[in-house]
C-alpha cells in the first residue's frame, strides 16, 4: 500500500503526519510505505497513492485524486489517526 502525507511545504506537518502514521500502521500491523510531500509533489505522487493524509485546509486541493483523502485535525493524536485510517481501510 502506498500512502502520502501532504502539507503545503512538505517539511513540517507532512513529516509529522508521516511519522505518526507509520507508528499507527506499525501498531495495526499494516505494511505500507508513507511518503511526505508538498502540494506540488502530491500532484505527481497522488494518482498512485491508496491513501492521502493531509490537514482539513488542504483537502480541497487533493479531492480529484483516486485514493481516499483523510483529513487529520491533530497530527499528534494517534487515536484520531488510527480511527480514520482504520475506517478508510475497512
Amino acid at each position: 500500500m502506498k500512502i502520502i502525507a501532504v502539507c503545503g511545504m512538505g517539511i513540517g506537518t507532512s513529516v509529522l503526519l508521516k511519522m505518526n502514521a507509520e507508528k499507527v500502521l506499525g501498531m495495526l500491523g499494516i505494511q505500507a510505505t508513507v511518503q511526505a510531500a508538498d502540494i506540488a509533489k502530491a500532484k505527481v505522487e497522488g494518482p498512485t497513492a491508496d491513501i492521502i493524509l493531509t490537514t482539513p485546509e488542504l483537502v480541497y486541493q487533493l479531492e480529484k485524486m483516486p485514493g481516499k483523502v483523510i483529513a487529520i485535525d491533530h497530527v499528534f493524536d494517534l487515536v484520531e489517526i488510527r480511527e480514520k485510517l482504520t475506517a478508510a481501510l475497512s
Partner: protein
C-alpha cells in the same frame, strides 16, 4: 551534552510570554526569533506569512500549537527552530485547534535532513504535560532544562 531540540534552538531563538494580537504578528515573532538566531533572513519570515495567506491555518497542527514554516530556500541559512510562547492565546482561524499559545518556527535547508529533529519535536509536542510546562516557563533556562 544537549539534545537535538536544544541544539536546534540557537541562542536568541526562544521568546517567552510574548504579545501578539493576530496570526501575522505571531508568525513574525517566530520568524524574528529565527533571524536573531541566524537561521534565516527576513525573507523567510515574509515567506511564512505568504504561505499562511496562501494555504490557510493548517500550520496549527495540534490544540494551541502552530508550526510556522515556509519552503526550504536561500532565505534559510541553517536548519533550526525557534520557540515563542504567547502570553495571551491568539486565534489563527483553525476550527479544531485554536487559539494558539505556542508557536514553533521551523527552518529547513532541504526536505530530508531535519527528519531526526522532527521526530524529537513530535515526541515533545505529544507530551501535554511538557507542553504545559513550556507555556508556563519563566525563563530560557527552564525551557532548556525541559527540552533536555
Amino acid at each position: 551534552m544537549s539534545g537535538l531540540l536544544n541544539q536546534a534552538l540557537a541562542e536568541g531563538s526562544i521568546q517567552l510570554h510574548a504579545q501578539a494580537s493576530n496570526w501575522k504578528q505571531s508568525l513574525e515573532l517566530a520568524g524574528a526569533a529565527l533571524e536573531q538566531s541566524h537561521r534565516t533572513t527576513g525573507e523567510y519570515t515574509k515567506a511564512m506569512v505568504a504561505a499562511f495567506e496562501e494555504l490557510g491555518p493548517y500550520m496549527v497542527i495540534a490544540p494551541g500549537i502552530a508550526l510556522a514554516h515556509a519552503r526550504p530556500s536561500d532565505a534559510v541559512l541553517s536548519t533550526g527552530l525557534s520557540l515563542v510562547t504567547l502570553s495571551d492565546p491568539v486565534p489563527f482561524g483553525n476550527v479544531s485547534n485554536d487559539p494558539v499559545s505556542l508557536v514553533i518556527g521551523l527552518a529547513a535547508v532541504d526536505h530530508d535532513s531535519h527528519i531526526d529533529l522532527m521526530a524529537a519535536l513530535s515526541e515533545l509536542l505529544m507530551d501535554v504535560t511538557k507542553v504545559n510546562m513550556l507555556l508556563q516557563a519563566e525563563n530560557v533556562e527552564q525551557v532548556r532544562t525541559l527540552l533536555g
